[in-house]
Symmetry: C2
Subunit: 362 residues, 2 copies
């Protein structure tokens, strides 16, 4: 079938938003609406949006489940799978301050020194860009983030809570001046009052950050909230040529669907991880996302191989992934830490006890 | 915050669609847009849509994973949990033709005789309505579906493929004449050509069916396809006072999110199952759905108790739930049977082998 009326109808409901292959940084929101549809007879889209980049956060977010103690072998396997799958960025870990965090209490990827990264990636002569995350107030960024010409890192992502925005922007400017791409990831947005969020986005819009991330730390957002927040983020990001990103958690089994909703509303950089490995319920699953994106640059097979041989074997030890305790913290818009504790304690599986405990503490 | 401008903005993006507590059968589509928003400061909705009904298909769809061999004890526990949780309908099983299916090859809930159901529910003097499913061409409905005044069943749901619509409508009319509520569930809609779907919906709209279900048998639909199909279903259902329902599968981890999207577009009867128990990747999880709906009629605690004590203990045997083989069949818009076979065979877990096999067979 090639029915123009049908095709128009579909454009109206936004299918074109994903289809449009010309969407890019700095386009006004209105243009997002006018997609160029290439529909198959079954109604599934067949095209892709070439501006979209994906960032693998398997090691960085997954490290929150094992104090960042991944072996070099495992990290190398993930790195190779990212290269072979055509993934755009891989985040190797945190740049944490060694004066605040002890090397005894945390593994390699809490600190991600240049030597650590080069043991994995050498000079990284690949199509994969590398990123590290700096937590505001917990990083000695002036010393530990080297000038870009001395590092194989490409992107510095700055994680911040709403009350730390000025400190986060200092890190962004420092990294930008050193020659990196930069991102600002405002965490736990589901708990940020509206007027504070507007003020923060105004400041971020004036910064040197290349990327602004919508971060659903608690996995508590539903699609209509993602739409609302994406419109807000795009409103601030687009006039200054910044790209909006999405980082979702799977507490209510909405990490993938919320990532799709962010795409439809203009997000062009997307976090995901292999088998969803990440804190608590985990992240958007990279294998689901690449399947959706339809960009021939992305290959599913090397990803599946890595998941099968390297990621699934550590699931029993790291204990990430959707389950009902995480669902309950997501539903209550809470940090998943109580669920993480519960799941590794003696009452693991006692859903009713956890439910009663959560409501009693509420 | 109580900012009218904000509230208007949110209405535009559809939050009001869920909030509106006055939506009901027969309202024109345009009214779905004008929600009555009651927003909390954090932007999460606080109201609910009272017209929405939920149907528990744990035993019926879950029966596809064990030839319908649930013990009476298990079915009684699920029944009690449905009653205590305030669930609107429970589907007990199929009304399969005993001349076609042998009682040796299938358990009780393939046939769901009146005696079977009464062993569980007695005269069912509760707020829970009971339903059974009849597969078109595989049911002796004239004999096996009793007149309503001889049965504790309330609702007969007729499952049909696109080529069986006339036969399905005969069953609907028979059940309607016998005094039941009726539903028509057109399966595998993701493979139905557009013009056939339109013809089918036209016929269904003229039938006595109370409910028309959007059924994503393969778990292959994305949100924009759900929006498109829901608009189509509503267009046919509303003028004749029928209610549209949603039955989702979780192959791409979108069963819950697609159910939400159907709600936003006007679906007022929703299938879900405890812990998602259902064929292959399973269904929308009832615990996620009740958490979303915010109707004080629904109670999460008895549901969690049943999941913990009765459903999770059989997971290892029945093997339902999201995994990557189901994701791959969903992605390819295929029936999950190859994934079900693979998952219970010697190569279980060999994702790359299954991927290669699927593409070779494609």
């Amino acid at each position: 079938m090639n029915n123009p009326a049908l095709s128009d109808d579909r454009k109206k409901i936004g299918r074109g938003n994903y289809q449009n292959t010309t969407l890019g940084k700095g386009k006004p929101v209105s243009e997002l609406k006018s997609g160029n549809s290439h529909l198959s007879a079954s109604g599934r889209w067949v095209s892709y949006r070439s501006e979209i980049k994906v960032l693998d956060c398997t090691i960085r977010d997954g490290g929150l489940m094992n104090e960042h103690r991944f072996t070099d072998d495992l990290v190398k396997t993930v790195y190779s799978a990212c290269v072979e799958s055509g993934i755009d960025y891989m985040e190797v870990g945190y740049k944490a301050d060694r004066k605040i965090f002890s090397k005894d209490a945390f593994g390699t990827w809490k600190f991600s020194t240049e030597d650590d990264i080069r043991r994995i990636a050498g000079k990284n002569k690949t199509g994969l860009k590398l990123s590290a995350m700096a937590d505001t107030e917990r990083t000695d960024y002036r010393n530990d983030i080297l000038p870009k010409n001395q590092s194989v890192l490409d992107l510095i992502r700055v994680a911040t809570y709403i009350h730390q925005i000025p400190g986060a922007l200092d890190i962004v400017e420092d990294a930008h001046d050193k020659g990196y791409e930069t991102s600002i990831n405002l965490m736990s947005v589901s708990t940020v009052p509206e007027h504070e969020l507007d003020s923060a986005l105004e400041l971020i819009a004036r910064s040197s950050a290349d990327y602004i991330y919508l971060v659903d730390s608690f996995g508590s957002l539903y699609s209509e909230q993602v739409h609302y927040l994406m419109r807000k983020y795009m409103k601030y990001a687009q006039p200054t040529g910044k790209t909006v990103g999405m980082h979702a958690h799977n507490n209510q089994q909405l990490a993938f669907s919320n990532t799709i909703e962010a795409i439809v509303h203009g997000a062009n950089i997307l976090d995901a991880s292999m088998a969803g490995l990440g804190r608590g319920a985990g992240n958007c699953q990279m294998e689901l996302l690449l399947g959706f994106l339809h960009n021939p640059r992305y290959k599913l097979r090397p990803l599946l191989k890595c998941i099968q041989e390297t990621i699934e074997p550590i699931r029993k030890e790291l204990l990430w992934g959707f389950d009902i305790p995480y669902m309950l913290t997501g539903l209550l818009n809470q940090h998943p830490r109580t669920a993480i504790e519960f799941n590794s304690g003696p009452d693991q599986g006692n859903l009713v006890k956890f439910f009663d405990q959560l409501l009693a503490e509420y």
